[in-house]
Each structure stands twice: as structure tokens, then as C-alpha cells.
């Protein structure tokens, strides 16, 4: 039985790799607190967490990373998300900006799945637009596909130009 997570993924978490990094960082944080408790040699300053972990834990989901139970809950939630999150591969003609990825990811998480993850790739031949590959399908949303749908109009244009 798969538990339904209550976590809200921030837009900074884009891919499976981000989830893995967050899990590793949480694990490292746990290790740090365990070793700090074992030493008992005064309060050592906790390590700086990354912006993405801070965004996930503190800003978006109000988790206290100093609390071991909450860290454990967060790690569990992340495992659950890794198990259920649909991963989609999206290709662009050029390297996309983080803002563009964020907008697409927000749309996907709003309209398709709240834990949708993206794997970004490059496909220079598509010129413009993108190609989205889900588990079973490929959605060609490139300029080539758009032009292909407009073929009749293009042919009419060419015929008009040749006729002139």
C-alpha cells in the first residue's frame, strides 16, 4: 500500500536527481545530528542546508530540520514521492532557462500531477517548441509538428507564390 504524501514540492525540485540529492542531504543531516549527540562536547553549529532543501522543508512545508522526527517524516515523504512521482522527459532545441523550466513545471504540477518530475534534454533539430515523452507516449509540441499540422496552409502559400 502506497501512502499518499502530504508534501508540496517546490518548483526548485525538478528532477529525480533533485529528490535523490535531497534524500542524501537529509541523511547527511541526520548523521551530523547523531554524531553531535554522541560527542556531547558542546553545541556544534548545524551545517548549512542547501537552498532547495530549505525551500522544501522550511519555506514550503514548514518542517523543522532540527527535529529528528520531522526529518524522518520528511525523508519518508521523499521516498514516497520518489515511488509515485511520474517522470516526464522534455526536450528543447536549446538549453532552457530555470525560469522557463519552472513555469512548465508549475503548469504540469497544477494540471497533470502534483509530484510531476522532469528530465530535461536537448534536441536541436526541433528548432522551437519541445517534445514531451511520458511513460507510454511522445507528445511532439515542436515547431516541426506545428508546421506539419499547417501543411495545407503552407502548400497553399507555396502554390500561391508559384502561381504569381
Amino acid at each position: 500500500m502506497v501512502l499518499k504524501p502530504n508534501l508540496v514540492l517546490p518548483s526548485a525540485v525538478v528532477s529525480v536527481g533533485d529528490l535523490n540529492r535531497l534524500s542524501r542531504e537529509l541523511s547527511s543531516l541526520n548523521d551530523f545530528f547523531l554524531s553531535a549527540a554522541a560527542r556531547k562536547a558542546g553545541a556544534a553549529p548545524p551545517p548549512r542546508v542547501t537552498r532547495i532543501l530549505n525551500s522544501l522543508a522550511t519555506e514550503t512545508n514548514k518542517y523543522n530540520l532540527l527535529d529528528a522526527k520531522q526529518r524522518q517524516n520528511l525523508a519518508q515523504e521523499l521516498k514516497t514521492i520518489q515511488a509515485i512521482a511520474p517522470v516526464m522527459h522534455i526536450s528543447f532545441a536549446s538549453e532552457p532557462s530555470p525560469q522557463a523550466i519552472e513555469r512548465i513545471l508549475v503548469w504540469l504540477r497544477t494540471n497533470i500531477h502534483p509530484y510531476a518530475l522532469l528530465q530535461v534534454g536537448l534536441q536541436p533539430t526541433i528548432a522551437a517548441g519541445c517534445v514531451l515523452r511520458t511513460t507510454n507516449q511522445v507528445f511532439d509540441m515542436s515547431l516541426r509538428s506545428y508546421l506539419d499540422r499547417q501543411k495545407d496552409y503552407l502548400v497553399a502559400l507555396v502554390k500561391g507564390a508559384v502561381g504569381d
Partner: protein, 211 residues
């Protein structure tokens, strides 16, 4: 010597011969009989004189003269005959030449006519063959023209069809070559989001099936 002189000489010779013959006949018809009286001296003198005259007329010089005249006459006759013979020969040669020329001309004309006929036949045959060849070539040309036009039309139709099929790719390739990666992704976001919106149902269905 002219003809008159020749006639005079021949006449004198004939008269001398006639006198000689008459004298011989006279002497023969009246010989002295054996029992008769001997001939008179006068007749003997005449006989002697006639004999001397004959000897005198037909002496060696006269005979030489006659031989010379005969030789000359013979040479003249021979010369005239040779001339006649030469004239005949020339005439014969001329006639023969004319005959040969005529024969050769006739034969050549016949041969030329045959040759001309052969040439005409060959020419007619060649013209006929050329006409047939021209007709065949024209038919071939028309056939090839039709075939090439058909193939050209088919090829054109194929090219146009392929161009229409590949139109999107061609325009896309042209855009790609023209602008490359210079289109900012931010400018494409609205297009991408609208495309995502258009495919929203299909994506949702696929995600549901996948999960």
C-alpha cells in the same frame, strides 16, 4: 614522159614488130626449092638489111631504155597502187575507228543507261529506305516524347507530393538553418504552454495509465 610520148613509143614498137612478123612470114612462105634456082642476091641483101635494121632497132641501149621505162612505169604503178592501198588503208582505218567509236559509244551508252538505271533504282531504294527510317524515327521520337512527358509529369507529381509531405520538415530545416538556436525559450513559453494545454487530456490519461 607524158602519155603522148608513151603512145608514140608503143606505136613505133608495135609497127616494128608488125614489120618483123610480116618479113618473117614472107621468108617462110617462099623458100627456094632444092631443085629450084637459088635466091637472088637482092633478096639476100634485103634480108641482111632487115636483120641489121632489127638488130639496130633492138640493140642493148634500146632494150635498156625499154627496161628503164618499164621499171619506171612499174614503179609508178606500184606507187599509185601503194597510194591507193594507203588511201584504202587510211579510209579503212578511219572507218574502223568510226565503227569502233560508234560501237564503243553505243556500248558505253547502253552501259551508262544500265548504270543510270541502277543508280536510279538504288536512289529510289535509298530514298524509300530513308523515308521509312524517317517515319520510324518520327514514330520513335513521338513515342519517346510522350514517354518523357509522362515520366516528367510523374516525376514532377512525385516531387510535388514529396515536397508537400516534407513541407513541414523543409520549412523547419530552413528556419533552423536561418535562425539556429537564436529563438529564446522564454519567447516560446506561451506556445509550449498552449501546446501542453492542448495535449492535457492525453497526458493525464497516459500518466494515469502509467501510475
Amino acid at each position: 614522159m607524158n602519155t603522148g610520148g608513151l603512145i608514140l613509143v608503143i606505136g613505133s614498137l608495135l609497127s616494128a614488130a608488125a614489120a618483123f612478123i610480116w618479113l618473117a612470114t614472107k621468108l617462110k612462105s617462099g623458100p627456094p626449092s632444092p631443085g629450084g634456082k637459088p635466091a637472088s642476091p637482092t633478096s639476100q641483101i634485103f634480108e641482111q638489111a632487115a636483120k641489121e635494121d632489127v638488130d639496130h632497132i633492138f640493140n642493148n641501149e634500146f632494150r635498156e631504155e625499154l627496161r628503164n621505162r618499164g621499171r619506171l612505169h612499174f614503179e609508178k604503178v606500184i606507187g599509185e597502187n601503194a597510194m591507193f592501198l594507203q588511201q584504202d588503208l587510211r579510209q579503212t582505218t578511219s572507218q574502223l575507228n568510226d565503227y569502233m567509236r560508234a560501237e564503243i559509244t553505243r556500248t558505253l551508252q547502253v552501259e551508262f543507261k544500265k548504270y543510270e538505271q541502277s543508280i536510279t533504282d538504288a536512289k529510289a531504294l535509298a530514298l524509300d529506305s530513308i523515308e521509312k527510317t524517317v517515319v520510324t524515327i518520327e514514330q520513335q521520337r513521338k513515342f519517346l516524347e510522350t514517354q518523357m512527358l509522362t515520366q516528367s509529369e510523374a516525376q514532377k507529381a512525385r516531387l510535388i507530393a514529396r515536397f508537400e509531405v516534407e513541407m513541414a520538415g523543409i520549412v523547419n530545416h530552413y528556419i533552423l538553418r536561418a535562425i539556429g538556436n537564436q529563438i529564446d525559450l522564454s519567447d516560446q513559453l506561451e506556445f509550449i504552454l498552449s501546446e501542453l494545454e492542448a495535449n492535457k487530456v492525453a497526458i493525464l490519461e497516459d500518466i494515469k495509465r502509467g501510475t
